[in-house]
């Protein structure tokens, strides 16, 4: 079995480099998909951060209505002007400012929801994969059950329950949306982590730790977790755009982020419901393109990360 490395790739692995962290960053940056994705995600982040600044510069709050200046004499929203760069919506609000605030909402919902799902899912997957046998069977069944719930129907019912006697939500809708999205995406992380752990738990690396008497906790913490995290992080970036779309879906259906608070989902819904996008296309195009750009950015980034971090896909 000598000389198992056939591919000459082994030769180009840099040898004497000081920090693996810097090396990793360099390798990431050499991947074009990572660069492109990072730039697009950077733009989205910048947009979300710049929302209050732009709002201040233009003098338009995200929920302020300018019936005098933003609507014409027929009551229809005006198109792009210097004062309203992306025009106005049916209520005379600034589409650009609302789209930028929408980015904040998307990230504020998507990032925590995906992160919570990742932590819960990875923990459950670790337990399931590591303590195979009955534990694994029960958890796998639970994952299958969790995955068999239809997302929209379940989410609609849960959000409907969140109405008190006066019709006011009992818990802030944003928290409910985050919880629901997390509930619907942890199972994917659990499945992924379970598969990775199953492969690792019988590896020579883990058996070597067992023979020196390492405890389960130690093996999970030092041997398994660091070796599955890169893949899990990549999956986080894969799942995030899906969850941003999920938030937009719920808001579009009127059960997510509630008007007048801007979210891409409820902006698109409003443009579509009032058909005003036929008069003022940017009313629909602003949030629509922003959503598109965000999803493309994260998807490109995650594809690039996978190219670099996934040992099975490493190219020569």
């Amino acid at each position: 079995m000598a000389d198992t490395i056939h591919s000459p790739v082994a030769l180009i692995v840099p040898r004497a480099s000081p920090s693996p962290g810097i090396l990793l960053l360099k390798r990431l940056w050499r991947e074009r998909a990572v660069r492109t994705g990072a730039v697009i995600v950077g733009i989205v982040l910048l947009a979300a951060l710049s929302a209050p600044v732009v709002s201040h510069l233009l003098g338009h709050g995200p929920m302020e209505q300018f019936e005098g200046t933003a609507l014409d004499e027929m009551g229809l929203p005006i198109g792009p002007t210097l004062e309203f760069p992306l025009g106005a919506d049916g209520n005379g609000r600034d589409v650009l400012v609302r789209t930028l605030y929408g980015a904040q909402v998307s990230l504020l919902v998507g990032v925590p929801a995906t992160t919570i799902a990742m932590i819960i899912g990875t923990a459950i997957g670790l337990v399931s994969g590591f303590f195979a046998g009955r534990t694994d069977r029960i958890i796998s069944q639970a994952i299958d059950v969790a995955l068999s719930f239809p997302f929209v129907v379940t989410a609609l019912s849960l959000l409907a329950l969140n109405r008190g006697g006066t019709g006011q939500p009992i818990v802030p809708p944003m928290v409910v949306v985050i919880t629901i999205i997390a509930l619907f995406s942890w199972a994917y992380f659990a499945r992924l982590a379970r598969g990775l752990v199953l492969e690792l738990r019988t590896s020579p690396m883990v058996e070597a730790s067992r023979t020196i008497g390492a405890s389960w906790a130690r093996i999970i913490w030092f041997d398994i977790l660091p070796n599955i995290l890169p893949t899990v992080f990549v999956y986080w970036a894969v799942q995030l755009p899906a969850n941003i779309v999920a938030e937009a879906t719920l808001s579009f259906l009127g059960v997510g982020i509630q008007a007048p608070m801007p979210s891409w989902g409820n902006m698109i819904a409003e443009a579509q419901r009032t058909s005003l996008y036929q008069e003022q296309p940017w009313f629909l195009a602003g949030p629509g393109l922003a959503l598109f750009l965000t999803v493309v950015g994260f998807n490109t980034l995650s594809a690039g990360l996978r190219n670099v971090l996934d040992p099975n896909r490493r190219r020569a």
Partner: protein, 535 residues
């Protein structure tokens, strides 16, 4: 005129010059062996010459195929050459065969890619090829999938694909390295027979001079991307001119172990480990049946057998990574492994039995530095003081003859031999009384193998630790082990002093194993060769 020749070939990957001006050629009906360690550029030069390297590699020089320059030809033309003119056989037949296609289809595809051929003709050609490469009952095997075949059969299928269009040249890159010794002998015979029948030129790449000794007409020895020595085989084996060739010859075990482990006083060693009538089966398929043996204190016991013989299972049972279905194992009179379930080894016994695994690339956590990996055994067993830990780890590194600067590195920044030394250091950290070494050198280069084996022997002398040394390589076993057990299909067929077993084998299977050791026809010419490496 040469069928295939390269002239001043240079291959570069990014900033690394892998091949630095290499020239060789091969003629019809002749075999050229290219020998060198990993990283010597032997594979890179052949892949580069045939246009099989990724675009990121730059290849310069001249490559002539039947007098025609092929370096820099467009892919279309190269594809027409590969298959009909040049056949390839690689090391790992499993990863080179499509898992979801029958072997008949895959061999047939090799033909139909280049020729228009009717379905019936193709079927007949494939059957003839299967027969030609020595696969019994081709009709029945035609629709088998690769997973149905043994490693040797898969390699025969790869050879059938390579010779499907009767090419004038076959390039075989370590074609037997992943195979058992008896299978290796059969594959070498097959390649030789095919070559004689078809008058093919053969380029055979290997890290081991012993493997190519029976088949090579000419030998090219490579190191660090350069040709060290290039000569007819007789000259290389009988009159090597370069020190490096002598070193490789010294490490190669032509026709068997070069020397036997020094006989120790048998009366002095008391039994340490006792294995009694152990049996193990997986999914009702028996793997081990009624296996009993003992290991004495400070004894190195060899366990030899082919893949599937159950030798690794014995190692896992003794190491407490698995439980037997019947029988029991005891260490110093304490039973610790019986049928049942749950954790096997209690704490103090856990320290006494350690393991060195086959693949040092898989047994070291790639995300931890060597210092952390080696500190683990001490941390787990109660050492907390930072300075004391560091001292202990440094001592370990010294014990396995590594320099202290490896401590700061990650496993990926070490060579295979260094990694295996780290794995050995981890195993001796807790001063065990027994180390189970499962094929510890078979993933290493042949010169590295010799060094690691000497290290193990020295550690035994210094620490008084016993080894169960599992290997399929009889040469390694012969040089290291005091006694040897031969295992066939889960049963012990022969036990005895190593030299006695090797020189007067009693069982037919042992004789067959010994007869398969490559290099029988070229006994080591000069005793002085050994001094180069064992001096």
């Amino acid at each position: 005129m040469s069928v295939f020749s390269v002239d001043h070939l240079r291959v570069r990957f990014g900033g690394v010059q892998a091949v630095r001006g290499v020239s060789f050629g091969v003629e019809s009906g002749r075999t050229l062996a290219i020998v060198g360690e990993s990283g010597s550029g032997k594979s890179a030069s052949l892949l580069g010459a045939t246009g099989l390297l990724p675009g990121s590699a730059s290849v310069e020089g001249n490559v002539l195929h039947r007098g025609q320059e092929i370096l820099g030809l467009p892919d279309r033309d190269l594809r027409r050459l590969r298959g009909p003119q040049i056949g390839f056989v690689f090391q790992d037949p499993l990863s080179n065969l499509h898992p979801l296609k029958t072997i008949g289809d895959q061999i047939g595809e090799a033909i139909s890619v280049h020729q228009r051929i009717t379905r019936r003709q193709k079927h007949e050609r494939v059957l003839a090829l299967l027969d030609d490469v020595g696969i019994a009952d081709p009709q029945a095997r035609f629709s088998d999938y690769p997973r149905h075949l043994s490693g040797g059969m898969r390699q025969r299928v790869m050879i059938a694909i390579a010779i499907a269009l009767d090419p004038g040249l076959i390039i075989a890159d370590e074609p037997t390295t992943a195979l058992d010794v008896t299978v290796q002998a059969a594959i070498l015979d097959l390649l030789k027979r095919l070559q004689e029948e078809h008058g093919t030129a053969l380029i055979f790449v290997s890290h081991d001079l012993a493997v190519v000794s029976d088949i090579a007409d000419d030998v090219v020895v490579m190191r660090d991307g350069l040709v060290v020595e290039q000569a007819p085989a007789d000259d290389i084996y009988l009159r090597p001119r370069q020190d490096y060739t002598r070193e490789l010859l010294g490490a190669a075990r032509l026709g068997g172990p070069k020397s036997y482990a020094v006989q120790r006083d048998r009366q002095a060693t008391r039994p340490l480990l006792d294995v009694q009538a152990v049996a193990r089966s997986f999914a009702s398929r028996p793997v081990l049946d009624d296996v009993s043996f003992t290991i004495g204190e400070a004894e190195i016991l060899g366990l030899v057998g082919e893949s599937g013989s159950g030798k690794s299972t014995i190692g896992r049972l003794i190491a407490g990574l698995d439980r037997p279905n019947a029988g029991r194992i005891s260490l110093k009179g304490r039973d610790y492994s019986q049928p049942g379930s749950g954790g096997v080894l209690p704490g103090d016994l856990r320290r006494s039995i350690q393991v060195v695994f086959q693949d040092p690339y898989a047994s070291l956590n790639p995300r931890r530095r060597i210092e952390a990996i080696l500190a683990d055994p001490f941390v787990i067993h109660g050492t907390v003081d930072k300075a004391e830990l560091r001292e202990k780890v440094k001592q370990l590194v010294t014990d396995v003859e590594l320099s202290h600067d490896v401590l700061e590195r990650l496993p990926s920044q070490l060579s295979g031999g260094q990694r295996q030394r780290v794995a050995i250091a981890r195993a001796i950290a807790l001063r065990p009384s027994l180390i189970v070494a499962d094929e510890p050198v078979s993933a290493l280069d042949i010169t590295t193998q010799a060094k690691v084996i000497r290290l193990l022997a020295r550690l035994r002398d210094k620490l008084g630790v016993s080894f169960l040394f599992i290997s399929h390589d009889l040469g390694v076993i012969g040089e290291l082990c005091d006694r040897v057990i031969v295992l066939e299909k889960g049963q012990i067929v022969e036990v005895g002093q190593t030299q006695q077993v090797f020189e007067r084998p009693a069982h037919a299977y042992t004789r067959r194993l010994l007869a398969s050791i490559p290099g029988r026809k070229r006994p080591p010419a000069e005793a002085e060769l050994e001094d180069v490496i064992y001096g």
